[in-house]
């Protein structure tokens, strides 16, 4: 399981566990599963999907950080889709 959090400047929008995360990286979608290598990537515009329909967000810019099965999506513009 991944520990996922979606953080905007004003609030933590999502915090929970999920088996997978699909995020819109700057150059296309990136899928994260448990045991992923530590990574930081810049995000583009698109849909962020957490688990199988656990939560969806529309994000624009920001970044995603994976380290030790903890996924942090940090973005100035995110809204629940």
């Amino acid at each position: 399981m991944l520990k996922v959090s979606v953080i905007s400047p004003e609030a933590t929008l999502f915090e929970g566990e999920a088996p997978s995360v699909t995020a819109p990286a700057f150059d296309g979608e990136v899928g994260i599963l448990p045991q992923h290598a530590p990574m930081v990537t810049v995000l583009g515009t698109g849909e962020l999907r957490i688990g199988e329909g656990t939560a969806r967000f529309q994000v624009e810019g920001g970044f995603l950080q994976v380290v030790d099965d903890v996924v942090r999506v940090v973005t100035e513009k995110a809204s629940r889709a």
Binding site: A25, P38, V42, V67
Partner: protein
């Protein structure tokens, strides 16, 4: 009984004032709680940004990023002063203005050309009164500041810093350490002081590259510093108002006790006098 009636009027007026201050105290208390929640909610974002920047930052990158440029001397600086739109918050605005004036004096003594940007009616009113030119003044930021407010405040300054038209940007606002400790502080947000700690890159895969990520994150970091200042100042304002209104309510209570005592004494004295007059009159008739 002229004095009694006068006292009665004052008692009434102090009671009414106390009603207002007590209500304001309660309003400020609930607003402060919500503002405090916003301060706490803003922390994870700040921490996440600082973590990543600290792990990517290397001193040799400083020359390649305009936002990290450390000018040898500050020839031109901008000071952003955050104040409130409303008064009745004790010395809150006065303290912020004092802090800003100290900073202006210090910068100007060092030969820096300073432009002043003021947020909030109270600060703008003061500087208009003393005749200090302000580059911008705005009163449209509410007591619930948003990240968009912070962006609109600092984005223009950031562009000018990158272009080399400014050498430093300071933000004067209140820190919100706790309800009782909200000291005014001047913070330099530009050039960016890279966050310390977690030095040395953990073996991250970086997409597209460390530089591209920093290019994206540094402006967010600056905006977030300003956002944090806005939220903390908003919370500090409510805390200051609560304290001011609480002491006003307490003082009104004390005053009422005193006025009531005086009033009762006057009433009693009058009754005693009336009785003495009646007794005196009756005995004169008998005699």
């Amino acid at each position: 009984m002229a004095k009694g009636r006068e006292l009665k009027g004052r008692i009434k007026s102090v009671e009414n004032t106390r009603k207002i201050t007590r209500t304001m105290e309660m309003v400020a208390t609930s607003k402060m709680k919500r503002a405090q929640d916003r301060v706490v909610a803003a922390r994870p974002y700040a921490r996440a940004l600082a973590d990543v920047i600290a792990s990517l930052y290397a001193p040799e990158l400083a020359e390649r990023f305009p936002l990290l440029r450390q000018p040898a001397q500050e020839a031109r600086a901008a000071v952003v002063l955050l104040t409130s739109n409303r008064g009745l918050a004790g010395a809150f605005n006065a303290n912020l203005i004092k802090e800003a004036r100290a900073l202006l004096a210090r910068l100007e003594a060092a030969g820096t050309a300073v432009e002043l940007h003021v947020v909030g009616k109270k600060g703008a009113g003061y500087f208009r009164y003393v005749g200090r030119a302000m580059q911008t003044e705005r009163a449209d930021i509410t007591d619930r500041p948003t990240a968009a407010d912070a962006a609109s405040l600092v984005d223009g300054l950031m562009t000018r810093f990158v272009d080399g038209a400014l050498d430093a940007v300071y933000v004067v606002g209140s820190r919100f350490n706790s309800v009782l400790s909200t000291p005014p502080t001047a913070e330099r947000v530009l050039p960016v002081q890279p966050p310390a700690g977690a030095a040395g890159t953990k073996d991250y895969l970086l997409f597209p590259s460390a530089e591209a990520i920093l290019t994206e994150l540094l402006p967010s970091y600056v905006r977030n510093a300003v956002y944090r200042a806005l939220v903390e100042t908003a919370a500090a304002e409510q805390a200051a108002r609560r304290t001011a209104m609480k002491s006003a309510t307490d003082n009104a209570g004390e005053m009422l006790t005193l006025l009531r005592r005086t009033y009762n004494r006057a009433r009693q004295a009058q009754i005693t006098q009336e009785i003495a007059e009646i007794v005196g009159g009756a005995s004169a008739l008998q005699g």
